[in-house]
């Protein structure tokens, strides 16, 4: 991967270094906001991956929640405290569930895929609100994570979790950027355009979508794990349909043209929500809705369509 020939890699690297540096200067509230938006971006990346193949997942919260709960339960019930181990367990749990559900999901398209994904996430939500051992609707607290045996305290701990989120978001974005420029990545675009032709070229549409589904789940699970560590708490709302809807919202807001787009969109959403809530606490949802409306009317390809068009012209 040549940096000079790939502006995305260069921008990602610059953003990661910049965010790590700025994190030392930012006030706690702002750093936390950036951290959450980076973690959520991973779930949005999962939605984006599937959107590129023409599939809209209204249930990505399922894997976000599994990642969060698996990490949280490992800390809460099993006494695992290492952040990397917690995240790995969240990632593995998400991937294992996706490997099973993906066999079914890869058969469906369009509204059927959207509704089925929503159904699975709501089933998990329903199970969690009834699971008293896991705190029912209140969820449970996740013990503070350690980092390879080092237990940071206070501000150091907050910066460490922030730095971990930045680093992982960078690594995942880099990996997905590589995936998108592979034949498998392009096959997603081709499937969205014409499934019949893909099959007649000798490729398996279902296998391609299955791989995409599992990758999207893993990435979203990692996002959920990072949120669990950052917030120190998980609850069933992680799987609720509004959480998944927000990921779709951000994917539409940002566009699907580049792995950078979800990070921009997610950050923008967090800012809009924070400031809308601060200045219009009773009507902030209207502001979000209005933003969405304007976007669909004037930028149907999302924010990235503007950047992409400019890059193409230059």
């Amino acid at each position: 991967m040549t940096l000079g020939r790939n502006p995305t890699v260069l921008v990602l690297a610059a953003a990661a270094v910049g965010l790590l540096g700025l994190g030392l200067l930012m006030p706690d509230w702002l750093r936390f906001l950036v951290q959450i938006s980076l973690a959520n971006s991973l779930a949005v990346l999962g939605v984006m991956l599937q959107m590129r193949a023409g599939l809209v997942s209204f249930g990505q919260g399922l894997y976000y929640c599994i990642g969060g709960y698996a990490a949280g339960m490992s800390g809460h019930l099993l006494g695992v405290s290492d952040a990397f181990a917690l995240l790995l367990l969240g990632l593995v749990a998400s991937i294992l569930v996706a490997m099973a559900l993906g066999l079914l999901m890869s058969r469906y398209r369009e509204i059927f895929f959207a509704m089925l994904s929503l159904a699975f996430s709501m089933i998990l939500y329903g199970l969690l609100v009834r699971a008293e051992a896991l705190g029912s609707t209140d969820g449970f607290n996740v013990p503070p994570a350690t980092f390879l045996g080092i237990a940071f305290k206070g501000g150091e701990h907050r910066y460490a979790t922030y730095a971990l989120t930045c680093a992982l978001a960078f690594v995942v974005a880099l990996a997905l950027n590589r995936y998108l420029v592979s034949t498998l990545g392009y096959l997603g675009d081709a499937i969205r355009e014409n499934e019949i032709r893909v099959e007649y070229l000798g490729a398996s549409v279902r296998r391609t979508l299955y791989i995409k589904y599992v990758i999207a789940a893993g990435v979203s699970g990692l996002g959920g794990g990072l949120v669990a560590i950052a917030v120190g708490h998980v609850d069933p709302d992680l799987a609720y349909w509004t959480t998944s809807g927000e990921f779709v919202f951000v994917a539409l807001l940002s566009g699907t043209g580049n792995v950078l787009a979800p990070f921009v969109g997610s950050l923008l959403l967090e800012f809009i929500r924070t400031f809308a809530f601060a200045y219009a606490p009773y009507t902030w949802q209207m502001i979000l809705g209005g933003t969405m409306l304007l976007l669909i009317l004037f930028l149907p390809g999302g924010l990235w369509s503007v950047i992409g068009a400019r890059a193409e012209r230059s």
Binding site: T183, L187, D189, E193, R197
Partner: protein, 258 residues
Amino acid sequence: MVPALEAKGLHKTFGAVIGAADIHVAVAEGEVLGIIGANGAGKTTFVNMVTGHLKPSRGTIHFLGQDITDLPSRAITQLGICRSFQIPQLFGNLTVLDNLLVAIGVMEASARALWQRFRRPEPLALARETLQRYGLTSYAESKASLLPQGVRKLLDIAMATVRAPRIVLLDEPTSGISTDEKFAIMDTLMTALKAADTTVLFVEHDMEIVERYARRVLAFYDGRVIADGPTAEALASAEVRQYVIGGEVDRRAVTARA
């Protein structure tokens, strides 16, 4: 010698409608076979059964001696039978070059190949060579959805043949193409396929094209094969003249008289 393609007793029904009735065909390697028939005669049903899109109700299809009757379309493609479509099946939002790169990218069945970079030197070289062979170089960076019909047809065929198939089935390669362009396109196409020693089966309504390019003709009527033989012989058959060519013969006769 084992035929490249052999259909035995193919039968296909769609409810009460018979799409194919007891079709027996053997095609030798390197043959160029024209498939003719009126609309609804069973030509595309035959092509769809050979390429795995439809499963025959009865009968078998063999490719170089291997039974492919129950294989899915992608497995048949991987074996070496490719097809183009009456309505070109392209990736409209991708460029012409990217359309070909997708076709080249999936040629290797290994999972490792799928993870490789889409724009690598070797596939790019093959794509550019194919573009040149089909006269598409000037369209390389054009979006497929914006191409003229003739170019769309050529791209569709180029995608079907890029993996150098043993057999290619072309469904009406000149439909929707102007009279001026059709021979030029067929010349380009047949030269490219002949160079690769590909067995060609093409469905065509245009008898001028059939006469000029097919060495053998398979004529369908009502799901049945009513003629199978050398082009001149098949086109001269009474049944073909009555059920397939009809006005076409009269028009040519008039032209000849003039």
